[in-house]
């Protein structure tokens, strides 16, 4: 028994060194989480990104595997994020008429949504008496991670913490958006999608595309516009309140 156990551990350690194990685990965890999500009739808290990430964290933590070792395998999936953002131009082009028609709503919702996202984060940071580094890291949380990192650095925050908080915001939006919009009786896919894009960037946009391609296209525009808008407005707001 002891021998077979050490044998198993040895094989596991051997496989853990190679990228294939973690790549396979990531795909498997996601497929299983998606099954669970469909099976639960899309229960919001069982969001596939949330559940599969938690499950993988649990596996890594219990086997003592460092994130870097995991990422050696998972990087092949992570790499596809760049190409995936490029290809979002295609659905945007498909829905160009609807987007152009809603341009005034897009503009107003960008200014209001982007400002509320930043102001509420700064205001709550003051309320919870976060130190400057923490507050600067959470302020750009509604901006897509690469841009959020740049903004946080400008404000005096921690770059990697900013990326983490952006990802967590994306997941929380993917979980909360649908129940929230349903509770308020909002049925316009354009507005639902755009709000999710502005507030919850990539992960929110990915979620929106699973529900409606109109929502996804508006989310794409919201994500892109808020990256620009926040990069300009957040430093001003932050220094005004925290400085």
């Amino acid at each position: 028994m002891q021998d077979s156990l050490t044998g198993f551990v040895a094989v596991f350690v051997y496989l853990g060194e190679a990228p294939l194990l973690w790549l396979t685990l990531t795909l498997g965890a996601f497929l299983a989480a998606e099954r669970l999500y469909q099976f639960s009739n899309r229960f919001a808290l069982l969001n596939p990104v949330l559940i599969s990430s938690l499950a993988i964290c649990l596996v890594l933590y219990s086997t003592g595997t460092p994130y870097d070792a995991y990422f050696r395998g998972a990087q092949f999936i992570h790499f596809l994020l760049g190409p995936a953002i490029i290809i979002l131009a295609v659905p945007v082009w498909r829905h160009r008429a609807a987007l152009w028609r809603a341009r005034f709503a897009v503009l107003v919702a960008l200014i209001i949504g982007g400002s509320v996202a930043g102001l509420s984060a700064i205001g709550l940071s003051v309320l919870f008496e976060l130190d400057l580094e923490m507050a600067a890291s959470i302020t750009p949380k509604s901006v897509t991670a690469p841009v959020a990192m740049g903004i946080a650095e400008n404000l005096g925050g921690a770059v990697s913490l900013a990326a983490l908080l952006a990802v967590l915001t994306g997941i929380s939006g993917a979980v909360l958006a649908t129940p929230l919009f349903n509770a308020f009786g909002l049925v316009d896919w354009r507005g639902r999608g755009f709000a999710v894009g502005v507030t919850c960037h990539g992960i929110g946009t990915a979620h929106a595309f699973q529900l409606s391609s109109v929502a996804g296209s508006f989310a794409t525009i919201g994500m892109a516009l808020n990256a620009l808008f926040s990069a300009i407005i957040l430093p001003v707001l932050f220094i005004f309140i925290y400085g």
């Binding site: 998606e34 290809i87 082009w93 008429a97 982007g114 740049g150 354009r190």
Partner: protein, 131 residues
């Protein structure tokens, strides 16, 4: 498939190069997306190879965020130390922003730009079990 990938990588490369060249504050892929959009507008038709690849990517877009999300693991200490206040800020701020953006959008849209006839421009991605 390969042709579609070629186009995508080409535009990502161009976007990344432009970002590096001019020190733009926006990430390379976002510039690449804008460039692809301009190209589609000039061409006025999406190549079939891109159309097919697009549906595949959209279907599995959430999966691509999983490796980044697992990065939470690197921040156990911060999460244990001040996770609760960060969590509360994150949730309430997200709820407020979602409501502000969607309500303002829908309010303006109702007065200025009602949706095009429902279903006209709707192409839903396949959900579940279609592969």
């Amino acid at each position: 498939m390969i042709e579609g990938l070629f186009f995508i990588f080409l535009f990502q490369l161009a976007g990344t190069a432009l970002t590096a060249l001019f020190g733009l504050p926006v990430p390379g892929p976002v510039i690449g997306m804008a460039l692809l959009l301009i190209w589609l507008a000039l061409r006025f038709k999406t190549p079939t190879s891109l159309d097919n690849l697009c549906d595949f990517f959209l279907r599995y877009l959430p999966l691509l965020f999983v490796p980044a999300a697992v990065g939470v693991l690197n921040y156990k200490d911060i999460i244990i130390a001040s996770g609760l206040s960060l969590f509360i800020i994150l949730i309430f701020s997200t709820l407020a922003a979602l409501l502000a953006a969607s309500l303002s959008f829908i309010w303006v849209a109702r007065h200025l730009c009602p949706p095009i006839g429902e279903g006209q421009r709707k192409t839903r991605p396949s959900i579940g079990g279609a592969e």
